[in-house]
């Protein structure tokens, strides 16, 4: 028997899976009802499991589909077009919830847990954030101390997505007994472990049916092989997993944005005012074109990041750029969609209002955009050499990229290491860089998709203009820093006076 001929190709698997996903959405998922109930019903979780949605990135050797991140992202985007809570459940499971176990788990633990995770019998959750440790992960207090042949864990993790019903928690904890006082490690804790308890569901602005809870660990004991990777390597593993997770989130944002754009196109071509469809007015045309171009750039950049994730290597900068660009793009597109729907958009029946509130969190979780931009910009200032980028065939964009490279070099020479601590400098450079990356990804995609050339060219024009705006603003950094320091000091004084130590 010719096995190779019988085995479905990746493309065929994806085709079937997309069909299966759409069937699941059509049959099982009523986003308004799910949102109103405040949780994803058990039967929806079970149907998602039957459709293979928990198996996406789990290796085939362990009962999963072994899909590349890019394909998993396609499915998450498909889910997000209909229900962002369901997409978040699946995306978190495929990303942060299982990634570190897949890559760094011991053979025995992978064999034990991965098949159950692929089946959806256990859903994955991830916990790094704590009440006192948000963007500042170094402030984590949850601690695991070596004891006998295992670890004793105490602490509390906040905002744990999927936490209410998860079967396996991957946690970033301090492990001062394993490689120095400041060492962190990643550890898996199964739900049934004595001492692990889950708080009530948080009431949220958006993705209201997604599970978000606090997870407490009181005197929890797990065997040493629940550790992932090398003891003390937790911070590196967490950054690696976050890089992966941010790509999944970026692709999810493209799905939400696609929904909002489609709803808008249906509306502006049907709704008539002043004897013509409102979509025929120049202002509406410009808004719709900008939405479409932004979405094109979002998809291009998310896809580039997904391909880079598959290729291996350091994903930090690219995944952060994709996450920032796609989360902001989705929010802007949903906001424009709501505006173009007029008062109708403010009502629940169009679904656009839900899309708007559902995507708001993506600018915050898995790394607040503001912090990611500051870090991205600091990275640009200390990078060893800015790679020469080949001409794009788009002269205005090439000129912008040269200006960006020149300004990075100038600021680096002028401020040295100190420049990395100037947040207005780093975040403005980073915003320009995000524009450059999105434009470059759009141009490269258009090269293989001739029918998209016009849309890509418009996207690149818009991104080039925005990039220049960010670079123009570099001139005002000193005065902005001074003004902000003085004004905030005044504004804070009545609030901070009673609190100073």
């Amino acid at each position: 028997m010719n096995v190779a001929a019988d085995a479905p190709t990746d493309g065929e698997v994806m085709g079937l899976l997309i069909e299966e996903t759409r069937r699941f959405l059509a049959r099982e998922v009523d986003p308004a009802a799910i949102e109103a109930s405040g949780r994803i019903p058990d039967r929806v979780v079970a149907a998602a499991a039957s459709a293979g949605l928990f198996a996406l990135t789990i290796p085939e050797s362990h009962g999963g589909l072994g899909l590349p991140l890019r394909s998993a992202g396609t499915i998450v985007a498909e889910l997000a077009r209909v229900d962002r809570s369901v997409a978040t459940m699946v995306g978190l499971h495929a990303g942060l919830g299982t990634r570190s176990l897949v890559v760094h788990g011991s053979d025995a633990r992978r064999a034990r847990w991965l098949p159950a995770l692929a089946e959806g019998e256990r859903v994955g959750a991830f916990g790094a954030t704590e009440a006192g440790a948000g963007s500042d992960l170094q402030a984590i207090r949850t601690i695991a101390r070596p004891e006998g042949a295992g670890l004793r864990i105490d602490g509390e993790k906040s905002y744990v997505t999927n936490g209410g019903f998860a079967g396996l928690y991957t946690l970033l904890v301090r492990t001062p007994g394993l490689g120095g006082e400041r060492s962190f490690s990643m550890v898996c804790v199964p739900r049934e472990t004595p001492g692990l308890s889950v708080g009530p569901e948080e009431d949220k602005l958006g993705i209201r049916a997604s599970s978000t809870v606090t997870v407490r660990l009181d005197d929890v004991y797990v065997p040493s092989d629940h550790l992932l990777g090398a003891p003390g390597a937790g911070m590196d593993l967490a950054h690696e997993a976050l890089g992966w997770g941010r790509v999944v989130m970026a692709t999810g944002c493209t799905g939400t944005a696609r929904y909002a754009l489609d709803a808008t196109l249906a509306h502006v071509t049907a709704r008539r005012q002043f004897h013509r469809p409102i979509g025929d007015f120049d202002v509406a045309r410009m808004q719709v074109s900008t939405m479409a171009a932004t979405l094109f750039a979002m998809e291009s950049l998310a896809d580039r990041a997904a391909c880079a994730a598959e290729a291996g290597g350091d994903l930090t900068g690219l995944s952060a750029a994709a996450k920032v660009f796609c989360s902001e793009g989705a929010f802007t597109i949903c906001d424009a969609a709501l505006q173009l729907h007029g008062a109708m958009g403010f009502l629940e029946q169009t679904g656009v209002a839900r899309a708007l509130r559902d995507c708001r969190i993506t600018r915050i979780f898995e790394g607040a955009n503001d912090v990611l931009l500051v870090h991205l910009g600091a990275g640009m200032l200390i990078a060893r050499a800015r790679p020469e980028t080949p001409s794009s065939g788009h002269p205005a964009f090439d000129e912008f990229e040269r200006r960006l490279a020149r300004l990075v070099a100038e600021n680096r020479a002028e401020f040295g290491v100190r420049g990395t601590q100037r947040q207005l400098l780093t975040s403005r450079l980073a915003r320009a860089e995000v524009c450059a990356l999105a434009a470059r990804a759009s141009l490269d995609r258009a090269a293989t998709e001739p029918e998209s050339a016009e849309l890509a060219a418009f996207a690149v024009d818009q991104l080039t203009r925005e990039g220049h705006r960010q670079l123009d603003a570099l001139r005002f950094i000193q005065e902005d820093e001074r003004a902000a320091a003085s004004l905030s000091k005044r504004a804070y004084s009545p609030w901070a006076s009673g609190r100073s130590a």
Partner: protein
């Protein structure tokens, strides 16, 4: 991390001994890491022993620039791995810039 109580007046730099520079660097690092200066050793690796990532290392180097009023260029910070190496660089720059 914006308060640097130890800010050195330029004329005072001339009389700083190596030990004083070292002590100030350790104090600064301990403040950033919120730990007891007594527990910081010269041979400590910034990453493995002190748990610093590239961002907290940048914060430390930048604070040293402020503290001693020296310009640390990006290139000269490549390859620094231990506190000793950082202190040696800073000492050299403090002496060199007088």
């Amino acid at each position: 991390m914006t308060t640097h109580a130890l800010l050195v007046d330029p004329p005072a730099r001339a009389v700083l001994s190596d030990d004083q520079i070292r002590a100030r660097a350790v104090h600064l690092l301990a403040t950033i890491l919120e730990r007891d200066p007594e527990t910081v050793q010269q041979a400590h690796s910034l990453r493995a022993d002190l748990g610093m990532d590239s961002l907290s290392a940048l914060e430390f180097l930048s604070s040293l620039s402020h503290e001693f009023d020296i310009d640390l260029e990006v290139e000269e910070t490549y390859g620094l791995t231990t506190l000793n190496e950082v202190v040696a660089l800073v000492t050299q720059r403090v002496r060199g810039s007088l």
